[in-house]
């Protein structure tokens, strides 16, 4: 059974239809990528899947629950975590605190307990800290534990966002261009990290422009163009699809010489 089922999803900004009657099925435990030219609606889709945007129409069924129209924090509570294309790190905290905040859903705490700092809370905080340390280790940021987030390099912040999203132990992880702006070595580290997560059973939806990364880690690829699904399939199938090539490179007769396109 699919973990996530999107049906007839639509969203318009003014007169621009960012997403139009989109249907998607996401399989549990697999890595899915969403590709498409700039402005295809990839980030808009991710924003709707994480509850940041409210869709105009359509349904988002996740693990048997309807989420469309719910407030953002309910999406997280249902088990959807995400990272952001333009960093949304908590720059007023240390790296460890960022990940501890990510564990918010795993550490319930009432206002009186917070005010009185009950022994139970102290124990829960120690566990939370330990779990956050493990996650920083997982993404390779152990060295930055107590570093203020605003003093960390860009590549580390990208991974910090992943660690924070993992803090909530999500069933589905949405990664919005995790390799954007990274050099080849850093991109390979992200590549390895995604594979490790998939091996642990986390379902991943990846939006990425780095085609080498997409082709290497994906089990399934969706191609968006103008807010609609143009094609889907395994990376190989999609790579051979003439409609996909046309969307990326223009029609063969107008843009690229046909020999180069089919190479």
């Amino acid at each position: 059974m699919s973990l996530l089922a999107v049906s007839d999803l639509s969203k318009a900004f003014g007169g621009v239809r960012a997403i139009a009657e989109l249907n998607l099925q996401v399989r549990r435990g697999a890595v899915h990528s969403i590709i498409g030219p700039n402005g295809a609606g990839k980030t808009s889709l991710l924003n709707m899947l994480s509850g940041v945007y409210r869709p105009d129409a359509g349904s988002i069924r996740f693990d048997g629950h309807e989420l469309a129209g719910q407030p953002t924090h309910r999406f997280a509570a249902a088990g959807i975590g995400r990272t952001f294309q333009n960093l949304q790190v908590f720059f007023n905290m240390t790296a460890l605190e960022n990940v501890m905040t990510g564990r918010h859903l795993r550490e319930r705490c009432s206002l009186p307990a917070a005010l009185l700092r009950t022994p139970k809370l102290v124990r829960a905080e120690a566990e939370c800290r330990e779990a956050a340390r493990r996650l920083l280790h997982l993404v390779g940021l152990s060295a930055y534990e107590d570093t203020a987030a605003d003093a960390m390099p860009y590549g580390a912040l990208k991974r910090l966002e992943i660690a924070r999203a993992l803090g909530a132990e999500p069933q589905l992880l949405l990664l919005d261009e995790p390799a954007a702006g990274l050099n080849a070595t850093e991109a390979r580290e992200i590549d390895a990290l995604i594979k490790r997560l998939a091996a642990q059973g986390v379902t991943v939806i990846l939006v990425e422009h780095n085609m080498r990364l997409v082709m290497e880690v994906s089990d399934h690829v969706f191609v968006l163009d103008h807010g609609r699904k143009l094609a889907e399939g395994t990376p190989d199938e999609v790579g051979r699809d003439p409609r996909v090539i046309e969307a990326y490179l223009g029609a063969p007769d107008t843009a690229a010489p046909s020999g180069a396109v089919h190479a």
């Binding site: 953002t72 924090h73 705490c109």
Partner: protein
């Protein structure tokens, strides 16, 4: 925390007469309000322009319960505070779901309504002339005199500071700081922002009401001036001047801006102008407030 406790403990050595005690008590009361208000402004990122309203409601609520209904003062004070927190819930619940400065507008309205009601409902509140407030009686013994009140009021302040520091270091505090860092990331981490803002708003209203109730029973008299809009603004200036998102900043801001008018009694008529000038100077020279600014300066010097 230890520093503050030491200051509180040693201060009586230099408080040589009752007037100094009076000022110290005033400082502690304002500081209690500011510690709560700072949680709201500095951590939840919301401004309240009606905290004087909560302060007055706490004072009048406790006074009326005690004077008109014969409720013992030690019970009337917490009752009034709980009622005020519930009023904050009623106002905060719808407004804190919205983005922008809706809370500032709603509390501004509330502050003005409270001031008008207190002034006009003279059968209950004594109207513009104010009302006499019964003294605090503990175990059959009437609490009177500046010295005793000094210890009661500073005790409350220390507890308020302790609670605030605990809150900031808890998951709730992290959630609030996260809202400040990136609201969208906080929400996608599962943080229900409206819920946490509401909790802090209620808490800050509770602190304000507590200080108001203590003021009323200490002074033995309360007037509608306590509910004025200007008093609300003064409280916000104390927090901003001392340093947003700094609990000790709130205490220092309250201390400096409470004693300043006492030192400048010659400028009494220009008090609000002085406050305005202080606010402008703070924004220009150390927008993060005086305590964080001094902290950074100290850290730089030590390197």
């Amino acid at each position: 925390m230890l520093v503050l406790a030491t200051v509180v403990a040693l201060l009586p050595l230099v408080l040589t007469n009752n007037y100094f005690y009076e000022v110290a008590i005033l400082v502690a009361l304002n500081a209690t309000v500011c510690v709560g208000l700072n949680l709201l402004i500095g951590y939840a990122g919301q401004i309240s322009l009606g905290h004087a309203g909560f302060f007055a409601l706490g004072g009048y609520g406790s006074a009326i319960l005690a004077a008109r209904y014969g409720v013992p003062v030690w019970l009337a004070m917490p009752l009034a505070c709980v009622v005020v927190a519930l009023i904050a819930f009623v106002i905060g619940r719808p407004t804190l779901r919205l983005k922008g400065h809706t809370l500032a507008m709603a509390t501004l309205g509330l502050g003005i309504i409270v001031a008008i009601v207190i002034t006009t409902e003279d059968r209950i509140t004594g109207g513009p002339d104010g009302m006499a407030v019964p003294p605090l009686v503990l175990f059959g013994w009437t609490v009177m005199g500046e010295r005793i009140w000094y210890w009661i009021v500073t005790g409350h302040l220390l507890v308020a500071v302790w609670l605030a520091l605990n809150l900031i270091e808890s998951p709730t505090g992290r959630a609030l700081r996260a809202l400040h860092g990136s609201e969208v990331a906080a929400e996608t981490s599962g943080i229900d922002s409206a819920r946490y803002k509401l909790q802090v708003f209620m808490l800050s209203a509770f602190f304000a009401a507590l200080a108001g109730a203590l003021t009323a029973h200490y002074a033995g008299f309360i007037t509608p001036a306590k509910a004025s809009f200007m008093h609300s603004v003064e409280l916000v200036i104390m927090v901003v001047f001392g340093g947003m998102a700094s609990t000790f900043g709130a205490v220092v801001g309250a201390a400096l801006l409470t004693t300043l008018p006492q030192l400048l009694t010659v400028l009494k008529d220009y008090e609000m102008m002085v406050f305005g000038a202080v606010l402008i100077a703070t924004m220009v020279f150390f927008p993060q407030g005086i305590v964080p600014a001094l902290g950074r300066w100290w850290a730089r010097r030590r390197q």
